[in-house]
Amino acid sequence: MQAANASSSPVQEVKNTTCYMCACRCGIRVHLRDGVVRYIDGNPDHPLNKGVICAKGSSGIMKQYSPARLLKPLKRRAGAERGAGDFEEITWDEAFATLAERLGRIRATDPKKFALITGRDQMQALTGMFARQFGTPNYSAHGGFCSVNMAAGMIYTIGGSFWEFGGPDLDRAKLFVMIGTAEDHHSNPMKIALSKFRRDGGRFISINPVRTGYSAIADEWVPIRPGTDGALLLAIIHEIIATGLYDREFLVRYSNAGQLINVSSTSDEFGFFVRTDIPTEEACYEPQDKLWWDRNSDRPVVTHQAGADPYLLGEFKLADGTPVKPAFQLLHERVKDYTPEWASQITGIPVEIIRRLAHEMGVTARDQKIELPIAWTDSWGNEHETVTGNPVAFHAMRGLAAHSNGFQSTRALAILMSLLGTIDRPGGFRHKAPFPRPIPPCARTPNDARGVQPNHPLDGMVLGWPSDPDDLFVNADGSPVRLDKAFSWEYPLSVHGLMHNAITNAWRGDPYRIDTLLIFMANMSWNSTMNTAEVRRMLNDKVSDKDGNEEFKIPFLVVCDAFHSEMTAYADLILPDTTYLERHDVMSMLDRPISEFDGPVDSVRIPVLPVSGDCKPFQEVLIELGTRLKLPAFVTPTGERKFRDYPDFITNWETEPGSGIGFLAGWRGKGGEKFLRGEPNPNQWEMYARNNCVFHYELPKSYQYMRNWNKGYLEWSQRHSITRYAEPILIHLYSEVLQRFRCAAQGKGLTRKPPEHLKKRIETYFDPLPFYYDSLEAQVTDKHKYPLAAVTQRPMAMYHSWDSQNAWLRQIHTHNYLYVNTRTARQQGIGDGDWIWVESQWGKVRCMVRHSEAVEPGTVWTWNAIGKAAGAWNLTPDANESQLGFLLNHLISEELPVSVDSARRISNSDPITGQAAWYDVRVRIYKVGADETAPGLQNTSPQFEPMKPYPGMKPRSGILAFLGGRRK
C-alpha cells in the first residue's frame, strides 16, 4: 500500500446494469475510472442479489479486457478447412449482404433449410420470434439439452417448475430437500436464502451422488446412485401414503386426486377421466367437468360441489356399470410395490434412511403448519381467512433432469410435493410470474408441414406444449417436420427442442439436409455437444454434388460469438458480439423470467462502455437482418424499416399492433404509468435506467399464494394479459395428457397414431402415473463392463466454457480431475493423482484422478467444461486447460441404438421430452499403460490441432497488472 489510509483515487463514475457472467442476472454497479472498469459490485437495491455478487460477477473486468475477444467480422478463407481457424477480416456490410442474400433465397424457397440454434443466452424471446418470422421450424435453444425434463415434468404436473419458473420458499421452510443441484441459475439468490435458512435453524438435506458446494453445508447428505431418484421418490411416496402423511384436504381441493378415472380395460375411454355431459368450449384451460365419488352422498358428483367430499381411495361403479377409481387410488396402486426395500436396492440408500426421509417430510409438513393471516378467495368462491403453509421445500435441477428417465422422476417429485401440500404455499414451492400456466401451457407449434411456407412466418410458435398427438409437428406420414425431430413421435413433448441432435441430423440428412446453420452463443463443437470429436468431424465433412463439386454437408455455418471459442473455428462467417457491458439487453418475461415469488420482475442492460473493435450486438444483427429480409415484424406494410435499432425495437414492438404487450413489462403507457400492458413509452429505457435497470411489481399479499386456484390472482393475471383464462389449474397427479399418447400407441381413440416402430416406446414411457425404469443407456449397456456412472457438476466460479479466458477465474479452475471414491480407486490400484483412461461404450479420455470420500462409490465425476481444445480462447497451446484438462463429452453419445441388438438409432434423450441424457453415461476406469507414463506423454487425450488467434484479436500478455484506469 502506498500509505495506510490513502483511499484509492476517486472513482469517476458508477453505472448500473445487469450482470451476464451467468444467467442469474443480478443487478450490478460498474465503477469506472477514466473510462476503464475499476470495480463491479452487486447493486444493493436489486431484488435478486441484494448487493451481493459472485466470483464470476466480480471477474467481469477480465472478460471485458480478455485477449480472447473477437473484434472483427471474419470469413473463412476460401479453401481453408473448417476447424483450421483460417479467417480473413471483412466488413459488416459484406457480412450483412452475404447473410441477406443467402437467407433471402432460403426463405423464398424452403425456409426450413435455415436453422437457428442458440445456447445459454437470455434472448430467446427475440431469437425465437426471429425464427418464427423467418418461417423456419428449426429453432431450438439450450433447454432441450439442459433441463427440459425439469420444466416439462413439473409444468405438465403443477403448471410451474423449478429452474427459472419457481423455487423453494426458504424464508418460511423448516425442512429443505435439495436434489441433484450443484449451482443452478438462481445462483446468488439461492445462496442468500440457503444461508439464512440454515441460520434460522432450518434442516437441509441434500440428495446427490456428490457432496460439494451446497451439499457441503447440508445437515445430511444422502448419497444416491445417479439416475435412480425416481425410485427413491416413488418409495417416499409409497411410505407417505402408507402412513397417511399426505395432506388430504389439499389434494382433494387442488389436485385431480379425487377425480374418477374410467378403469374399464375394454373401453375406448380407459384411463381417461369420466366427464359430465356439460359441453365445454375448446379453449386452453381444463374445464371442470370431472367427477368425484362423494363420501357424504355416496354417489358421483361434479367436482368441487359445495358440501361434497370425495373418496380418494376405493373403486366404484358408475350407473352405467363403468368401473371407476379416483386418481389417488391409481397412484396408491402404482406405488404399492415401490417399497423402501425395493428402492434401497436400486438407489444404494439404506431402507431406514428412505423411511426416515419420508417421515421427516410428512411430519414436518403436517405438524409445523404455518397459518398466515392473509385472506384470499379460491376459484370456487370459497373465502379463506388464512393461507396455510406446510413448510417442506424442495429444489431439484439437472441431477434429476439430465437422465433419460428424468421426466417421470420429475413427475414423481412434483407429485410428492403435492402430496405434502406444498404447492405455491408458504414454506413450500412458490411460482414466479408468469407462472403458473395452464397444464399444458397454451403455446402450440404448427401441427403439420403446411405450417412452413416460403416467404411466410411460421404458422404457429417455434416451440410449444403439445396436449395430445394431434398437436405434434409431423408430416402426414408421422415423420418429423423439424430437423431435430422435436415434437415428433420420437420425443413428443420435446418442448424446448433437441438442439443436441441438430448437427448430427443435418450432417446425415435425416430427416433432411439444410443450407444454413446459425449458431448464437453456443459452443457446439465442444462442451454443449455430445460425442464431441465426431461432431467436429461432421462439421467439416463434405459431399460431392452431381457435378463433382465438393460442398460441406452443412453448407453454410454462421457463428455469433464474443470469444475465440472452439465453435468459431468451424464457422464460415463469424459475427463478433459485444460483451454484456457494451450492449442493450432485456431480461424479458417472454423469456426465462427473473420474477420473484411476490410478483413479476424484469430488467435491462444498458451499455456502460463503448463497443470494442468492430463488435456488434447480436440483437442489432437480428433487427438489421429482419429488416433486410423484410420479415413482417420488422418492416411496415410497405416494406420500410420499422425500428431504428434494438432499443427502439424494444420500446415500440408489440406482440400485435396495439396489444400493449412488449418485451418489457415496466413503465409502459405513454408516460410510464402502466405496467405489464400499456402503450409503448418512448422513455421506457430511461425509466429503467433510473430504477436500477429493474422492474419489480409486488403483488398484493392475497395474490402471492395458492395461485393455481387463487381467484383474485388469476383474474388479476387475466386483466394484465398474463393469461387468457382465469380458470383454476388443478395439479395433475394423474396425467391425462400422457394417457392420450399411450392410447394412441395402443391404437385407440381418434387422434393420430404413432408409426409402428415407435408404438411400443410410446406405450411404455407415456405412463400417466410416474414409474421407474433404468435409463435408456443402461438398457443397452453391459453394466458389469461399465460399472460406474459418470456425471459432471458446475463449478461455482466458472460459467460453462466461457471463463477459461478469464485471467482470474482460470487460476481457480485451471484443469480438472476425475473424482473417484477412494475405495473404488484403490480396488483398481489407482492412486490419487494417477493418470487413467475413462472409457464408455462410445469413447475414451485420458485424465488424472483425485480420490474423494465425498462421492458415491459407483459414481465418478468432474467439473463441467474446464477442459479446452489447445489454443482455444486465445490461451497458449500448452495451457493446462488443454494439456491437463479434459471434457467428459467425448464419452457421451448423442445417439443410442434402440436396443442392444438393433442398428436403428435414436437420440440419447428422454423418450418423452427429448432431454439430453448427459448423466446416464456408464464408464469403466483403468490405469494408463506403462508405456504412457513417460513425462512427455502426460497429457489428456484426445488432443486436437491447436487453434490459432484470428485476425483482429488482441495479443495476450505474459503478465497482467490490472489497475483499472489508474496510471501506474
Binding site: 487460476q811 481457480i812 479452475h813 485451471t814 480431475y817 483425485r850 480420490h851 474423494s852 470420500e853 493446462n880
Partner: protein, 327 residues
C-alpha cells in the same frame, strides 16, 4: 522450505569469511603470546583479510539477489530493536569494515603500541581491531543464525543448535580455508590451522548430527486439525484454491523427492565432515599439503552449500498444511 540460492551462498560465504577472520586473529593471538611464530603480516593477515573481504563481498552480492527491491536495502536497518535480519544487516557491514581495517593495519604494518596489558603484552590497533572483529564475527554468526532460529514455528530451526551450527560450520570452513591459504602465505602455520580446522569440523559434526537427530524426532505441533480447527482424525485437503502455483507453493516447497533429500543429506554429511577431516589430517602430514588442504576446503564448502540447501529443504513450514493438493 524452498532453498533460495542467494541465501545459501550468503550464509556459507560469509560464514567462511567469518571463520577465516577468526583463524587469522587466532594466529595473531597465539603469536602475541609467542605460542606461534609470527607469520608474514603482509601475506598472511593482509591477504587473508582480503580473501575474507572477497568472500564477504560475494556473500553480499548473493544476498542482493534475494531482495525484491535491492535498491532499498538500506532501509533494512530500521528495525534493529526487533528484527534479527536488521541486526544482521547492521553487523555485517560493521564486520566488513573491521576486517578491512584489520587487514589494512597489517598491510601497512601499522603497529603503534597503544597500551600494554598487565602481562606486558603490547596492544596495537590490529589487536583491538582483531578483538572487535572477533566479537562482530560471533555477533554476525548469532544474527544470521537467529534469523532462522527465532521463528518458533519453524521447529527444525528453532533451536540453539542452529546458532552453534552456524558458528561451528562457518568456523570449520574458515579454518580449512585458512589452512589451505597458509600453504602459500605461512607454511609454518599449516598444521596449526589444519589442526584447529579438524577440531572445529569434529565439533561441527557433533552439533550437526545432534540437530539432525533432534529434527528427525520432531513431532509437528501444527496439524491439519489445528490448521483448520476441525477435530477429526481423517482430514484431507482436496483443493488449495488455485492450481497453477502461488508464492506459497513456490517459497515453501523444495519440490524434490525424499530420495534427493536423503542423498543431499548423506552428501553433506560426508563432504562437510569426514572427507575434509581426511584431507586436513593427511594434509597436515603429507608433502602435497597444498592440494589436499585446498581440497579440504573446496569439498567442505561444497558440502556446506548442500548442508544449507538441506537446512532449508528439511524445514517444514506449518503453512504447508494449507497447500497440499490441487483440484
Amino acid at each position: 522450505m524452498h532453498p533460495a540460492f542467494s541465501v545459501i551462498f550468503l550464509t556459507t560465504l560469509i560464514g567462511a569469511a567469518q571463520g577465516l577472520f577468526l583463524a587469522l586473529f587466532t594466529v595473531q593471538s597465539y603469536a602475541a603470546f609467542k605460542l606461534l611464530p609470527p607469520p608474514d603480516a603482509h601475506a598472511f593477515y593482509g591477504q587473508g583479510s582480503l580473501l575474507a573481504l572477497a568472500l564477504l563481498g560475494a556473500g553480499l552480492v548473493a544476498s542482493f539477489f534475494h531482495l525484491g527491491r535491492p535498491e532499498r536495502a538500506w532501509r533494512s536497518i530500521a528495525m534493529w530493536r526487533t528484527s534479527w535480519l536488521a541486526r544482521e544487516v547492521i553487523v555485517l557491514p560493521a564486520f566488513v569494515g573491521v576486517v578491512f581495517l584489520y587487514g589494512l593495519a597489517h598491510w601497512l604494518n601499522w603497529h603503534p603500541v597503544l597500551m600494554t596489558l598487565p602481562g606486558g603484552l603490547p596492544v596495537d590497533p590490529s589487536a583491538i581491531l582483531g578483538v572487535a572483529g572477533t566479537l562482530l564475527a560471533f555477533a554476525l554468526f548469532i544474527c544470521t543464525a537467529m534469523i532462522y532460529a527465532c521463528v518458533k514455528f519453524l521447529r527444525e530451526w528453532h533451536s540453539s543448535l542452529t546458532v552453534i551450527n552456524y558458528i561451528l560450520l562457518g568456523g570449520a570452513s574458515g579454518f580449512s580455508l585458512a589452512a589451505a591459504f597458509a600453504v602459500l602465505s605461512a607454511p609454518e602455520l599449516v598444521s596449526f590451522l589444519a589442526g584447529w580446522a579438524a577440531i572445529i569440523t569434529l565439533l561441527g559434526l557433533v552439533s550437526r548430527a545432534a540437530s539432525l537427530h533432534r529434527n528427525a524426532r520432531l513431532q509437528p505441533k501444527s496439524t491439519l486439525q489445528t490448521a483448520i480447527g476441525i477435530k477429526h482424525p481423517r482430514i484431507v485437503q482436496k483443493a488449495q484454491g488455485f492450481m497453477g502455483g502461488s508464492f506459497n507453493t513456490r517459497e515453501y516447497f523444495h519440490g524434490q523427492p525424499v530420495a534427493v533429500l536423503r542423498g543431499v543429506k548423506w552428501f553433506f554429511m560426508l563432504a562437510v565432515f569426514p572427507l575434509p577431516l581426511l584431507f586436513l589430517l593427511s594434509g597436515m602430514q603429507g608433502g602435497g599439503a597444498g592440494g589436499l588442504l585446498a581440497a579440504a576446503f573446496v569439498v567442505q564448502y561444497a558440502g556446506l552449500v548442500a548442508e544449507r540447501w538441506f537446512f532449508f529443504a528439511q524445514t517444514n513450514h506449518p503453512q504447508n498444511l494449507y497447500y497440499q493438493s490441487i483440484a
